[in-house]
């Protein structure tokens, strides 16, 4: 199941305009207006998503070797503001999604949420934190946690 999810999320990867999440690049948190002009977005209503179709390549994701962590990096890259928000609250759909991508069992999800909430300031040390720095910090936190280290092994 985990593998399937990773596959599904990587399927969406090629449509993102960044190079290799999980590789020390990543999006800056709270980067402000996304740079897409509103009228262009309006066109998406009836949709301009055309070119990303089925035969997507997943690309080569070099740096993070763990597939779950790669998926998490990918997800955080495009949803970093919402992930940070849910993490500070210790609950929410985006935090759930991280847990699913890492394959965290339901029994361990409370511990997972608590750990990330308690250590929010170390995951996001300042307002210029990038998603990849946050991913690295999360991996480090999990590795040090007895119950959760197995999910990033």
């Amino acid at each position: 199941m985990k593998k399937l999810i990773a596959g599904a999320i990587l399927l969406g990867a090629s449509s993102m305009a960044f190079a290799q999440p999980g590789c020390g690049v990543g999006a800056m948190v709270w980067k402000g207006q996304s740079g897409i002009a509103p009228h262009v977005l309006a066109a998406t209503t009836n949709g301009i998503f055309g070119n990303q179709t089925f035969g997507m390549t997943t690309g080569t994701l070099g740096c993070q070797t763990n597939e779950s962590v790669q998926s998490m990096a990918m997800y955080m890259d495009s949803n970093i503001d919402k992930v940070a928000r849910d993490m500070s609250r210790g609950s929410g759909e985006n935090l759930e999604t991280l847990a699913v991508l890492l394959g965290v069992d339901e029994a361990d999800r409370g511990e997972f949420s608590r750990l990330l909430q308690d250590n929010f300031a170390s995951v996001f040390p300042n307002a210029d934190t990038t998603s990849d720095q946050a991913v690295d910090a999360i991996v480090t936190l999990l590795e040090k946690n007895e119950r959760l280290s197995k999910y990033v092994a």
Partner: protein
């Protein structure tokens, strides 16, 4: 681990076993019967020709057909498909017709017993395995008034994985959209023009749901409604197989009929033969109407509401008390710091609510109003660090689901009959409006303060000389009246063009093309009452005017109440015509609608007008029905 999908022949066999009408070889009669069946015509996207008795496919792509004249000959295409799916496999099995057209293969084999060349469709099976779909949900993105091309809403399909355990996560599910492949640099006007005449190729695409949520819910601030369809696994499989057939194939995109909603209806028709949703489409397929059709055909198992981030922010701010709201506005604007005593002295739960609502508001404003990053990012960081120190404080719950869904609002086509008096003559009036909603229509299921009219035509029969006159033709009429408050300061705006009767100095009423627009503000006055002040500009063109045209700056001040039983609007409109014939035009008006459910309204209006130094009292009373 869910079972990997078996090759396409599996469900072909399953369907074969389930039906009793199996012919061993296709006799010419049987072939003709199958070629004329709704299911085959749906699979080939064939539609009856306007002239003659033939059929033509809507696919604009030669690779979609196996027969040379397959796009206009369903029977030849069926024969060619039968030949191809029974042909021996040579070369790459993924190029074999059984792999290229798995939905046709399954359907044909459910009616005919044919030789089964063994073929391993690895590409299709991998794709289907990745999609891992148990249920299909039609997602409706509610209308978004600030962009004309989105006003009818938008629909796409979400492919839901089996609900087996805690690993099911719908944000990670995939979605299928049918969209115009417009070049990104095309302007909105060019986009609209080419969309109408068919200048864009339409493309079927797959994206993860979280990206759609980001675009519609976070950036465009549109609420999402999720309608889970009650398709069986076989029906879901057939839909996916057909999606595979039409992926990367071109179907030209047309805004009004062959649009995003239309192609999805075709997928549902393929999944459940006999549904014939496309039969509902006449001149246009408005996404909210297509939702009505799937609800009417009992295709919906469950409905879920996903509020947009703007809806959530508004809800979070509304759930604060007045002191908390003030504090939140002060933090967001930088007057109070997150670690100031005023914030620290709040109770834990109150602090959590203020921090949550303020963060959501700051993010929303950064997105919608371009707040500068060097202000918003450090503030966002401070808010979240402070919030992360509050353990076990639940966040503010989600907004309640609206009682009336968008698809449960009044139907969009309106017919009105009425009688009235112009101050000089009596008349009866017939009013037709194909779409969509005005401020005095039943408001349930529509955005408050939003109006969008297309091709409204009012025709009058004057009783004195039995004279018929076109009174008004509204090409497009839009009003967006969103209230301003301490947190949000949207501009109210309106624009309309078409033709209307305009009174000349000699008293004649001449039909003139017009263009009018306006901008201003709207404010809440207590519950259910809004006040608006709009600065307007009018342009009329007529050879009866001294200079051939006239321009009028003006103001419009009014009060608006939109209720489930009664909607009322009253105010003054004043214009000064300044080019051809300098004079004032002032109106004091009261208009009201009494809503009889969501299908009918009684509409009345009363107006006192001052124009060319004449005073007149006008009235009208009528009945409106929605279809």
């Amino acid at each position: 681990m869910p079972p990997r999908t078996l090759p396409g022949l599996t469900f072909g066999l399953l369907l074969t076993a389930a039906t009793g009408t199996i012919a061993s070889t296709p006799t010419p009669d049987k072939l003709a019967e199958l070629a004329a069946s709704d299911a085959w015509l749906t699979l080939g996207h064939y539609h009856p020709d306007t002239l003659g008795s033939g059929h033509t496919s809507q696919a604009d792509d030669a690779s979609f057909f196996l027969a040379e004249d397959g796009d206009s000959d369903p029977r030849a295409e069926l024969q060619a498909t039968i030949d191809a799916i029974t042909a021996p496999v040579t070369g790459d099995p993924n190029d074999h017709a059984r792999c290229q057209f798995p939905a046709r293969d399954a359907w044909i084999r459910s009616h005919l017993e044919l030789p089964q060349p063994a073929v391993n469709c690895t590409d299709f099976n991998d794709w289907k395995g990745d999609l891992n779909t148990r249920a299909v949900t039609m997602v409706f993105a509610a209308s978004y008034l600030n962009s004309p091309s989105s006003m009818f809403g938008h629909t796409f399909l979400r492919l839901d994985p089996p609900k087996e355990d805690g690993e099911t996560n719908l944000l990670l599910a995939n979605t299928i959209s049918y969209a115009a492949d417009a070049a990104e640099h095309d302007s909105e006007i060019l986009f609209a023009y080419r969309g109408i005449v068919g200048g864009y190729p339409g493309i079927t695409s797959v994206r993860p749901y979280y990206e759609m949520v980001k675009v519609y819910s976070d950036i465009e601030n549109r609420d999402l409604w999720e309608y889970e369809l009650n398709l069986t696994q076989d029906e879901v499989d057939q839909m996916l197989a057909h999606t595979w057939e039409i992926r990367n194939r071109n179907f030209d995109y047309y805004f009004f009929d062959e649009n995003c909603a239309y192609r999805l209806l075709a997928l549902i028709d393929v999944a459940r033969p006999g549904t014939q949703l496309l039969d509902e489409v006449s001149t246009h397929a408005i996404p909210s109407d297509t939702i009505r059709w799937i609800v009417d055909r009992n295709l919906v198992a469950d409905v879920t509401y996903r509020p947009s981030s703007a809806t959530k922010v508004e809800h979070a701010l509304e759930s604060l008390d007045s002191h908390e709201r003030q504090l939140s506005a002060a933090i967001a604007n930088g007057y109070v710091q997150v670690d100031d005593a005023e914030v620290q002295s709040l109770s834990e739960s109150s602090k959590a609510n203020v921090l949550d609502a303020t963060y959501d508001y700051v993010r929303h404003q950064t997105q919608a109003e371009d707040w500068p990053r060097d202000f918003a990012a450090p503030l966002s960081h401070n808010l979240l660090v402070a919030r992360s120190q509050l353990d076990d404080q639940p966040s503010i719950g989600p907004p309640e689901r609206p009682e009336v869904r968008d698809d449960q609002g009044h139907d969009t086509m309106r017919v009105g009959v009425g009688a009235g008096y112009t101050g000089a003559r009596h008349y009866t009036e017939l009013s037709l409006r194909p779409a969509y909603h005005d401020l005095l229509d039943p408001p349930a299921g529509y955005r408050p303060g939003a109006q969008l009219q297309f091709l409204r035509l009012d025709t009058r029969l004057y009783s004195d000389h039995q004279e018929v006159q076109v009174e008004r033709l509204v090409g497009v009429g839009i009003r967006s009246l969103t209230p301003r408050d301490a947190f949000f300061t949207p501009l109210s705006w309106q624009v309309s063009f078409g033709g209307r009767r305009s009174e000349m100095p000699d008293g004649d009423r001449i039909f003139t093309p017009y263009l009018e627009g306006g901008a201003g503000g709207t404010w809440r006055l207590g519950s259910g009452l809004r006040a608006l002040a709009i600065v307007t500009g009018d342009l009329e063109i007529s050879k009866h005017m001294r200079r051939g045209y006239d321009i009028a700056p003006g103001v419009d001040l009014s009060l608006l109440h939109q209720g489930d039983q009664i909607s009322l609007m009253t105010g003054v409109r004043s214009k000064a015509w300044i080019v051809s014939d300098q004079h004032r035009e002032d109106r004091l008006y009261l208009e009201g609608s009494w809503h009889l459910g969501r299908d009918y309204s009684v509409k009345a209006s009363l107006e006192r007008k001052h124009h060319y130094d004449r005073y007149e009292t006008l009235w009208q009373l009528g009945f409106r029905a929605y279809f």
